[in-house]
């Protein structure tokens, strides 16, 4: 059993920074890794990580458990879950997470993306069943991350925040709140991001994500896309301030997956989040 804790602002560990983390041991309290990148025990990435994790607690973030899949044929997802389990048993992360999304259906194909779930009672039952199963196999709690989405279903009567709160109540899972995703989805679907934050139950939130988005024109509309390829934008920082005010100094991650810059840029983003977290914590303590 891992008794480490993660606190403060961590970074997403990417291949191009492995050597720096081994040689220079930059001052970062914890790191997040994509579980799927370390399925192979023998690969160079896993060997680097074995060294790095001696100095840094980990959060393991999955993208492929397809928790919103209603398919009956679960063999692909079951195989994926077993690989996640083996990797987690090896890496002993403090936190384990995946998304409110799906990737695989009954067909033989797997879409490597976080596809949107309609927020219905049926989908809630499916997610609850799948989360229960994953937690039983992994023998631990997982966190569920709110997604960015670019598509609205007509039949989606439950709000996203109510859906997440219901998942917590029915499965005992925790939440990973991606503040950038809230901003992106609020823009794309026209809801109030601050209202969203206020509706999320406080206690289950155990990790926060921050990242940059891109703007794409689709049929004359500006659509925000969660690319993880840019610095965190101003309005997302503003929303993060509100999040820390509500949820406290929850461990926060700077995510950057596309065109990953020098570590100094990530450290600069981390410093901004550190400042917000510490100002609000001091304000609350005063």
């Amino acid at each position: 059993m891992n008794t480490q804790k993660i606190e403060g602002v961590g970074l997403g560990l990417r291949h191009c920074h492995f050597q720096e983390f081994i040689d220079d041991k930059p001052k970062v309290p914890w790191l997040e890794v994509h579980t799927e990148n370390f399925f192979s025990v023998g690969c160079a990435a896993s060997k680097y990580l074995d060294k790095i994790r001696q100095d840094y607690p980990l959060s393991a973030h999955s993208v492929g458990l397809s928790l919103g899949s209603a398919s009956v044929d679960c063999s692909v997802r079951e195989q994926h879950l077993q690989q996640v389990k083996q990797t987690i048993d090896r890496l002993e992360p403090v936190l384990v997470s995946d998304h409110l999304s799906w990737s695989a259906s009954d067909s033989v194909n797997y879409l490597p993306d976080l596809l949107p779930v309609p927020y219905t009672e049926e989908a809630l039952d499916v997610m609850v069943q799948n989360i229960d199963h994953v937690q039983a196999v992994l023998k631990r709690q997982i966190l569920i991350e709110n997604p960015s989405s670019y598509l609205s279903y007509k039949d989606s009567p439950i709000s996203e925040w109510a859906f997440l709160n219901a998942l917590v109540e029915r499965t005992g899972c925790g939440l990973l709140l991606d503040v950038n995703n809230i901003y992106v989805s609020a823009h794309n679907h026209g809801f109030d991001a601050e209202h969203y934050l206020q509706q999320i139950a406080v206690e289950p939130v155990q990790e926060i994500h921050l990242a940059g988005y891109a703007v794409r024109q689709v049929e004359g509309q500006n659509v925000l896309i969660d690319t993880h390829g840019h610095r965190v934008y101003g309005p997302v920082w503003d929303l993060y301030i509100k999040a820390v005010e509500r949820f406290g100094a929850v461990p926060t991650l700077i995510e950057w997956d596309v065109d990953v810059p020098d570590l100094a840029v990530l450290m600069d983003e981390k410093a901004k989040a550190d400042t917000i977290m510490s100002k609000i914590s001091k304000g609350k303590a005063a």
Binding site: F39, A44, L65, N109, D113, I225
Partner: protein, 267 residues
């Protein structure tokens, strides 16, 4: 079938459809289309998924990308993806059929070697992610009886891959490991193909050109021949082959991993 299950089947089908038009989006009636059409919303996911597939292809096939250029590579991947969508969520599994695809891909027919370069890159990728295996204690091998040596079977390290090409793919692969330099062109008319060994040492995956006799020896071992049979096959290729010498070489670099004086379990 439940409503959600059917919706997800149609969603995937729409995403994979190459000729998606405004008229044939099957989840049209399920999507709120007040600001953007169902086709437009589906297109965002389609493009995102394709982008998420191209990234691991770039990681697995960097030499192919260099040879054909970034944009051509992306366009080629898009064609490949139409036929070969991922089957699992582990993207390490994805891309195995790319060499075969390239061998029938009309736009690269002027590059007859490209399929073999892709084959080498896939083997390199497989070697990079293969499991480790602890070697036997080979000190006891020296004290084996003649009878035991004759029966001995060997397991190569799980990262070992063997490859033969008519084309000088090792030279093409080597020259594309670095930024282009002056005089770094290859004369493909004079260079010949050859035998290639790929394996991992520590965290580094290595590719080596090896002699035909070495290839024959290792290939025979890989295919379950005894040490004695493998040596005989190699000696057929090169009667002067120093079997003890090549065993010492491939023991030192870890290619020969475990030995058994009984048939290998589950072999």
């Amino acid at each position: 079938m439940t409503k959600l299950r059917e919706l997800q089947r149609q969603f995937i089908s729409d995403c994979l459809s190459a000729d998606l038009t405004d008229d044939n989006v099957s989840i049209e009636t399920d999507v709120d289309t007040q600001t953007i059409s169902a086709k437009g919303q589906m297109g965002i996911y389609r493009e995102s998924a394709i982008g998420n597939i191209i990234i691991p292809m770039q990681i697995t096939y960097p030499v192919i990308e260099k040879l054909v250029g970034r944009e051509f590579f992306r366009a080629t991947c898009r064609q490949y993806i139409k036929t070969y969508w991922p089957k699992t969520g582990n993207m390490d599994d994805y891309g195995q059929e790319f060499a075969e695809f390239l061998s029938n891909f009309e736009p690269v027919k002027e590059l007859p070697y490209i399929s073999d370069v892709a084959r080498l890159e896939w083997l390199y990728h497989e070697s990079s992610i293969a499991d480790d295996m602890e070697p036997s204690d080979w000190t006891s091998f020296a004290s084996l009886s003649e009878d035991d040596i004759e029966k001995t079977e060997i397991l190569l390290h799980p990262t070992v891959r063997l490859f033969y090409s008519l084309y000088p793919v090792k030279e093409i692969w080597d020259i594309n490991q670095h930024e282009p330099q002056a005089n770094s062109e290859l004369d493909l008319d004079t260079l010949e193909g050859g035998y290639i060994l790929c394996y991992r040492q520590g965290i580094k995956t290595v590719t080596l050109t090896i002699a035909e006799a070495d290839y024959t020896f290792l290939f025979a071992i890989l295919n379950g021949k005894t040490l004695y049979q493998s040596a005989e096959l190699a000696l057929d290729i090169d009667q002067g082959l120093d079997i003890q010498g090549i065993m010492a070489t491939y023991l030192k670099n870890g290619v020969l991993c475990q030995f058994f004086t009984q048939p290998i379990p589950n072999a």
